[in-house]
Symmetry: C2
Subunit: 312 residues, 2 copies
């Protein structure tokens, strides 16, 4: 008798199969559920990620994780990660760390050794990079601002599919560390990250990381395969034994794959009316389960829908 099935929350599992044909006159209304809003969305509200910005990670258990890079926020890191993927750097490496309510991190298991001489060569990729922890605020970059406020930053919203914070006084903006955000691991020196070890946020948004690490992008599909792993038992969630690690078969740049092998996915545009309607539907739920709508929404509690391309 206790199903606890708030239907609107299906929004959080919004990888949809192909949708029915859309009527041109279909317009999202505030009273629609998220499922109805997505069903009524128009084809033009969806975008296909640029294959040059799309990483396809295949885990040893067969699961696929898709990561979209954010070159407008961290161009040098995106370029270096493309090089690493192009040269098959990640193939045969592993998930080396799963710290509960924090991050799943992958890279070279020997990265955690005192003796790093055994680490895999970076090939032609750079060993150090400028931080790229924030970028100069660009008024020309589309920014769909949330009116709900934020504990950490003066302004928050979405740009190009990413959750973003802005500080006009300091003329800077940055991608925030929300669930699914992919960041660049580093040592203490701010220039020590190069993209050879990446982490995805798997718990409550650790916004204290914002502006202290370069954000490479965001997981747009398969987050559950990174978040649903057993936690590491070593300090800070590092795995202690090789058999505890999840091996990575490959991380390929979609651009390097034959066209037929590229993931056929679309992401809802974050400057679209349907995305605005989804946010409003979550801010003020209309289904009968909720007796008191929240009236507000936190940036990091908003998911950006991904779906399979129609016909795929």
């Amino acid at each position: 008798m206790t199903h606890f099935r708030p239907f609107a929350l299906a929004l959080t599992a919004c990888l949809l199969a192909s949708l029915p044909a859309l009527a041109d006159e279909a317009k999202p209304k505030p009273s629609l559920t998220p499922k109805e809003i997505l069903a009524a969305s128009k084809p033009a509200e969806w975008r296909t990620p640029d294959p040059d910005n799309l990483l396809v990670m295949t885990l040893a258990n067969g699961h696929r994780v898709l990561i979209e890079l954010a070159p407008d926020f961290s161009p040098l890191h995106a370029a270096n990660i493309r090089t690493l993927a192009h040269e098959h750097y990640f193939d045969g490496l592993a998930v080396i760390r799963v710290q509960d309510n924090f991050v799943t991190q992958w890279g070279d298991p020997n990265d955690d050794n005192a003796d790093r001489s055994k680490m895999k060569s970076l090939g032609t990729a750079k060993k150090t990079l400028p931080p790229e922890f924030t970028r100069p605020l660009d008024p020309k970059l589309a920014f769909t601002r949330l009116p709900d406020g934020d504990v950490y930053a003066p302004q928050v919203g979405f740009s190009e599919g990413f959750p973003v914070a802005r500080d006009p006084a300091n003329h800077e903006e940055w991608i925030t560390h929300c669930y699914g955000t992919v960041g660049v691991a580093r040592d203490v020196p701010p220039t020590s990250g190069n993209g050879n070890s990446l982490y995805a946020i798997i718990g409550q948004a650790p916004r204290g990381l914002d502006r202290n690490l370069a954000v490479a992008g965001r997981v747009i599909e398969g987050m559950e395969y990174l978040s649903g792993l057993p936690r590491g038992t070593g300090p800070l969630g590092f795995h202690e034994k090789p058999q505890q690690r999840t091996a990575i078969v490959s991380v390929a740049l979609a651009e390097d794959l034959p066209a037929a092998q590229r993931p056929a996915v679309e992401v809802l545009r974050t400057d679209s009316p349907s995305f605005a309607a989804l946010i409003e539907a979550k801010r003020n739920r209309v289904d009968a389960f909720y007796t008191r709508p929240a009236g507000k929404i936190d940036l990091c509690s908003i998911s950006v829908p991904t779906r399979a391309k129609a016909g795929k």
Copy 2:
């Protein structure tokens, strides 16, 4: 070269072994790390959970999860859950749902059937309860308020170890849905929850649930065994096949266990100076990894430390 080991984040894995003897003159300073703050905390800053409010859940894989009930916020639910545990209701049931970035839920697998006649008897426990979604604001209840603000509520802070929001205008307060919060699953009718199916939050705080569900308490140990489970593949993360469920050996009330079998744990008091120092250390990190302190902290990104009792 990319360890990404912000040491202060050890706060999130703060189940500590026995601590060294404490000097009376030890006082937390703003410049201490979380580890140092905990090491310098005084015995009186820690409390032993009342065994009448402490649930001991043992999973089939041998892992132990400890949940502290919150009778000051949901007394009727606490009483019903005590009855269910006392009568071994949960023994032999299972984790029936793991929805990514949302909840892990446990209870009777037949709860998800169209035919609920096969469900386990509730024994002497009540089948319906008043909602207890909020409680009247009580100025006498200790409330350690955060000055950082909140997107959802006028005031937030901690009461008796729980993250709490207050709305003075409506004269009410409630435990917020943060990582580790344990809530009472229900159907659409607000009175349909009785505690026979409970959920723990495993992702970004779904604060939209606040004031819409009764909060039973909080996981104080073993959260990683609920959050690190493979996600359910059915709608809303329900498991589709019996073998995908994690079986529950037992859920016992500590009060019902022989004294020697009760968990020997302590929780840091949320009205203690050391807890305030921990929050400040996370709000403005002092370790070299962070080049730009956040300056703010969100209620749900604060963990309340649990440790083994000294000598245990």
